[in-house]
Amino acid sequence: MNKLIKSLAVAGITIGSGALTASASSHREAPAIAEDQYVDNTDVYAFLSPTDANKLVIVADYVPLLLPTSGPNFYKFSDNARYEVHIDNNGDAVPDVGYRWTFTSQRKIGTTFLYNVGPVDSIASPNLNVTQTYKLEKVNEKTGATQVIMDNVPVAPWNVGKNSFPNNSYEKVALQAVATANGTTAFAGPRDEPFFVDLHVFDLLGVGGAHTTDGVNVMSLVLEVPITELASNGVRPAAGATGKDSVVGIFASASRPRVRLLRGDRNQDDYGSFVQVSRLGWPLINEVIIPLQDKDKYNRTSPRNDVSNFGAYILDPEVPKLLNLVLNANCPATPPEGRTDIVGLLGPNTTKAADLLRININQGQTSAMSHFPNGRALTDDVTDTLLTVACNNGGAISDGVDGNDKAFTTTFPYLASPHSGNP
């Protein structure tokens, strides 16, 4: 935990209250969203770009735990949903800037069951039968005004296998899905699942180092944006600034149209305004802090009301009690004031406490400083960090899984290439 405080201090982040004494994210975490996996937001990452410290990288992952051999209808994004990231830049936990992806699927040949009808050597290959494109918009969340950043951008294809992408050509094709416009770079498509955890944690905390997320993929949205596009008034705070606008708070969400009409004689129709069905800022909040009775409610609500709605769960989390019960972890009892230390982490630099992934955007910040809870790097072992924080017994608690199965890359989109369906 001292490591955690040091990393915060290096990042110029102060926590509100409470002395901290020590150091599986959101996959299928709530009953309703587990029935609608295409819009299940699994993880959010945010870090200063390792190639340009004037830019922020945001990764929002959806559709959990995907087997590479999932044909013939391989995973994609839903055409009937909005995928969004929201950024609060003044510390009130209300989004100011947003980015919205909407997807459209295409099919070239209807008379085959194949995803691709021959080897694919480029993202524009005529052999790529089933494709998807997207529109990326920037949203002024105060006014609702939108600005199209890019449109008709291809989604990277599924890594079907060695016959479809011979000579290890998949990644070359996938990277053709990287698009840049007005300084913003974007990628959408399947990637190796970057979250590492022993999911046996849900078998009465039976963790023991099993790499349960190895070998699976996820659908990733990756954005690299000039920080001035996100900062309050478009100005990046000076080095060492500690005001509420020295950090931005990020959460991702997915929304569905309010009404779906199923028809017996044709495809369904969707109507109405969009309703948020999934959201995520920090890893594991809805997964292990919010109890079953409120998990779906959490996904419907906004971070600005997190304390009013769920604050009592954060002040007295269940995890340390379970760690004591099952693992004899000797986590101390919740102090009379509650876990105000965790609340402090959720509201750094006097920002309003909320489930937002906050990251310092001051000048001088670098990628090396972007480690959870100051943002979240792909390599961060957030499970260990959060178990350790939750237990708070002065030692470290680990699930025994300390890294991803594949190395992350040093260039955009930073996530590892997805596992092949037929390696």
Binding site: R300, N309, G311, T334, G338
Partner: protein, 163 residues
């Protein structure tokens, strides 16, 4: 006679109905809940989850003047505009997630801050109006007390309270 009695009663009842217009329905006054605690509200919410009595709970509680003893943590109650308090003692453990949002009467946030001083957490008794109560099977419970005044400071010093 035993056979005739019900008939006579029925005729009498009908006769009454003919001579008197049905009374205008008047809303049942909601009994005051000045002595009801947050534990009572929590229990009614738990019951509503089982019985579907969400509207009744809201009707019964919304707008009531209440006196509750709550716990203020400074990190969650940093200003008059942004103050949540714990409705229940920590270490219960938490059975519900909601934390009442307080909107203070003039000067009362400062009174609270002064009364609590450096005590954190700080248990206080407050009075206020339950101005906002959202209870439903679909959204989290949300509780706002408005016109909040400090009644009893942690030292036991009694404040003047008018609601």
């Amino acid at each position: 006679m035993n056979r005739l009695l019900p008939l006579i009663l029925l005729v009498a009842a009908c006769g009454k109905a003919e001579h008197h217009a049905p009374p205008t329905p008047t809303p049942t006054p909601t009994p005051a809940l000045e002595h009801a605690t947050q534990a009572d509200l929590a229990q009614e919410i738990v019951d509503a989850d089982r019985l579907g009595t969400w509207r009744e709970v809201q009707h019964r509680w919304q707008g009531q003047s209440l006196r509750w003893t709550v716990t203020r943590q400074r990190v969650l109650c940093g200003s008059a505009d942004d103050c949540n308090v714990s409705a229940f003692p920590i270490q219960r453990p938490a059975k519900q997630g909601w934390m009442p949002l307080l909107s203070f009467a003039g000067g009362q946030f400062d009174a609270l801050a002064t009364a609590c001083g450096s005590q954190d957490p700080c248990e206080v008794t407050v009075e206020g109006t339950l101005s906002e109560l959202e209870v439903s099977p679909d959204l989290p419970t949300k509780v706002r007390l408005s016109n909040v005044r400090l009644v009893t400071a942690p030292t036991g010093h009694v404040q003047t309270a008018h609601i």
